[in-house]
Assembly symmetry: none
DNA sequence: CATCACACGTGACAC
DNA sequence: TGTGTCACGTGTGAT
């Protein structure tokens, strides 16, 4: 698997494309590991192909692409145990996740947003020494997927990263940096014999490479086998640190900064390259930035130790700070994105515009709510005027656990001749549509003599994610000849001897509806 | 007027308090001028008194206070010609603005928010050499206000700031800085005879003063008369610049930075003091920052001119950048504040929390709106049915002579994804019962794919002694796989061949009902 | 060449 | 002791 990381860009792209087609992935993402002190995965390459037809809740496809791009920009610190990063950290050659399992392990909300928007159902993470390969598809997990995928990739030996002991001398370490910096002195020991195959270092080298235009060292494609890599990483880290604190005579023509020594900050974490557009530019930009950051502070002048900072060693301690700050910024930007996504579209994407639009959108919503409630109250009052008795109260009834819920209350004033009833029926079920439900009840009513339908209102709503159908029928019960002696009900409130037996009617309705369920 | 700026804190507060009571102001705000390069007004002191009874749209009073505080934190660059700053720039001793005139000139949205929230109707700005005094009241402008106010303040001679000629030697200038830095050498010419009465310098001095704990120089209350001050300001600016480029031997015990020279960036703009709480702390913090910024870069080592930056003279060009960047940040933060102010209170004030809360608040509002509109329509229909006074009421229900009447209107907000329609069917016929009618329509709907019934309401009534059945169905029309390209369409936005054709649907319903009649 | 908007690294401060 | 949040100055790219 690691060999993927060593391919040239063109071959890699072709391979990813091929892989994607083979497994019908929606997207594919190659995460390369950037070792300590960054210790994170960053995007190396990838593809996203929008589905031509998405069944879930619509929305534009370009949003998913935006989210994908943003996702690719994210850093994923392996120590967090999130995905991506989890497979790499735990040496899992194959890790398959269903949609349900993802939220627990996802690195960011944005990531989840992307999965959701793209309709991803299954994600596969394949760890290797160089990083991770992430495949996502909209289909449900399939039984033979793992085997197929495992067969697809060359069965290279995946060495378990043993927990590194930090004793590696910096002798072999400097070389990798001295390489990346292209200095002349210190061309040490085993440079060729132990090439930096680790993805991270390759990534680092790519940066330096682009910057320095020294393609020679990188261009050659080693056909790998990775030595013990942890030492490699550690070495590289140490190398950087070492050079940073020494007075190197590196010099770099491309930049215009007057000859200066290195900067005290080692690993401003790698670049993110976007596969599609802007990839090169972005990469170059980040590479330049990376390198420039290296040379920013000058520690070189040994005699001038009166520096600005308290200690001129802003090593590891500061580093956490810097990456966590970066994390924070990314979180904020993610939030900005998701916020902007639910604003009325088409406005500027400017940060302050987003905020302003948000405020005015909120206030417009608020006023809308206010207007509506106000109007609502007026209507309600008006209604209760004309149509006294509160019949208008919502179809709620008691929130019982029963699936069927039937209530019958008399609404006509006791003085009145005609007797009006409100029949409330609630049905919680996803199995039947509202219209099925209503038709059923109507069918029953039609059979009933003496009972005329005056009005009906109904709606469905989601309660705890299952639909609840509510139905209120106003019935006019005629005082027809039926004359069924039937004695009523529980309470004292005697409804006087009706030919219309409320309870049995109620029960009948209940049964009619319940039958439909069984 | 300038004398206000020279009062001690206690006297000043008392004076403001008194003034406020006298003119029944809601708030009063003392803006002190910080000269070039900042060239802006910043808050020196002020009061805000909430009205016990606010007639405008309720809301908590504390919101207005929050906005006031935020407003006080703002910087107001005089060159922008906004308020505050306008009166100062144009030497207006009295500038009265009605509410209508304010939006054009207000500096920030936050400011407007405050005015609105506090119910401010009239604002008066009084310029003087030291800055501006801002009075706001909730009453409408009164005819004699200007005279009263002018009488209230001591008629001190207000010198017009002549456009400064930049020739002032830096001799007299260094003193103010050397003063603020508390250095010992260079105690120059006219220090006592020409005390730094300019508000800005006093503000500057306050900073340095707090920082250096040398109260002696400031504590004394001069009873003024202001010399030509422009030279003063300019001098101060030049002084800073001069010191910055020279190798001063200033040293400062309180800070722990090893003795270093000055930084190349002169004017990181003053502090903002809040009168109420946190004032001291914030002020101190800013003061420290101000001073530290002065000493950041060391230009002192003359022999070491190999600096980091391209040119070690980040002078005026960069400076604009710095302040505009600062403006930008402030704008963002203002937006954050006003955004947070209209979120449900009590959550974290954390930036990312604000964003998250905003998103969920928006979606909650949205759902609320949806629920309300739905309920609203139900009520409305209900009302128009039961309460069928002769009205040519809203339901199109044109009292047509037709026996069947079908209407279809879209009710979902245009932003929403799902499309909701209200289908209204009226049937005047004595031949069929309501339930027959309803069942008929339902049967038709059931056949329709893409169309789901959300809610239904219906009734019958007698019109001219024949029954009229009314039926309102809310339908959710699904966006079947069609995947309409959602480029936001300011253009012709043709309703384009939907699988759901409103007109034909309507006609189909009409026919279904009519069939039943024949 | 300006202006604007953004991201970055950094010091300070609060738990 | 870190961990997280913030504002600042700065570099850079777009417009």
């Amino acid at each position: 698997m690691d060999s993927i990381f060593l391919l040239g860009e063109a071959e890699r792209a072709a391979f990813l494309q091929h892989t994607m087609q083979t497994f019908r992935c929606s997207y594919i993402c190659l995460w390369s590991y950037l070792p300590n002190p960054s210790n994170c995965l960053l995007y190396l390459d990838g593809l996203y192909k929008e589905e031509s037809s998405q069944q879930p809740s619509s929305s534009s496809g370009s949003l998913a692409r935006m989210l994908f791009n943003a996702y690719c920009e994210s850093l994923n610190y392996v120590d967090l145990g999130r995905i991506p990063g989890f497979a790499f950290k735990n040496n899992l050659r194959y890790l398959e996740m269903k949609l349900d399992d993802i939220p627990r392990l996802a690195s960011s909300e944005l990531q989840m947003q992307f999965y959701k928007e793209a309709g991803i159902k299954t994600v596969v993470f394949m760890g290797c020494s160089s990083g991770e390969l992430e495949l996502g598809m909209t289909s449900e997990p399939q039984a033979n997927l793992e085997m197929e995928i495992q067969n697809w990739f060359p069965i290279d030996h995946y060495l378990s990263k043993q927990t590194a002991n930090q004793n590696t001398s910096s002798s072999s370490s400097l070389r990798s940096l001295s390489l990346s910096v292209n200095s002349v002195e210190q061309s040490p020991s085993n440079f060729i014999t132990e090439p930096p195959t680790k993805a991270a270092s390759s990534s680092l080298l790519e940066e330096a490479n682009i910057l320095l235009r020294s393609d020679a060292l990188i261009g050659r494609s080693w056909n790998v086998q990775f030595p013990n890599i942890e030492s490699e990483n550690d070495a590289l880290t140490k190398a950087i640190l070492a050079v940073l604190t020494s007075s190197s005579t590196s010099q770099q023509a491309a930049q215009n900064m007057p000859q200066s020594a290195f900067r005290s900050y080692p690993g401003p974490v790698g670049p993110r390259l976007l596969s599609t557009h802007q990839s090169k530019k972005n990469m170059f930009k980040r590479a330049v930035m990376f390198y420039r950051n290296l040379n920013m502070h000058n520690v070189g002048r040994a005699h001038d130790q009166s520096r600005i900072d308290i200690g001129n060693r802003p090593t590891t301690a500061q580093l956490h700070h810097v990456i966590s700050e970066r994390r924070r910024r990314e979180k904020i930007n993610e939030s900005f994105l998701v916020l902007r996504s639910l604003l009325p579209p088409g406005s500027k994407k400017d940060k302050v515009s987003v905020l302003s639009n948000t405020t005015e959108f909120i206030s417009s919503l608020r006023s809308q709510v206010e207007r509506l409630t106000q109007r609502n109250q007026i209507l309600q009052a008006q209604l209760s005027m004309t149509n006294e008795s509160e019949a208008g109260d919502h179809l709620e009834a008691s929130p019982s656990t029963e699936r069927v819920n039937v209530g019958l209350t008399r609404v006509s004033p006791s003085t009145s001749e005609t007797r009006l009833f409100d029949l409330r029926v609630n049905l919680r079920s996803g199995e039947f549509s509202l219209s099925d439900f209503v038709i059923r009840v109507f069918g029953f009513l039609k059979q009933q003599r003496n009972v005329n339908l005056v009005s009906v209102q109904s709606n469905s709503r989601m309660v705890e994610s299952i639909p609840v159908h509510g139905l209120v029928l106003r019935l006019k019960v005629e005082d027809g000849g039926g004359r069924r002696r039937r004695l009523h009900p529980p309470q004292s409130h005697i409804v006087k001897g009706d030919e219309f037996d409320e309870l049995s009617f109620q029960e009948a309705v209940r049964r009619v509806v319940a039958d439909q369920l069984s």
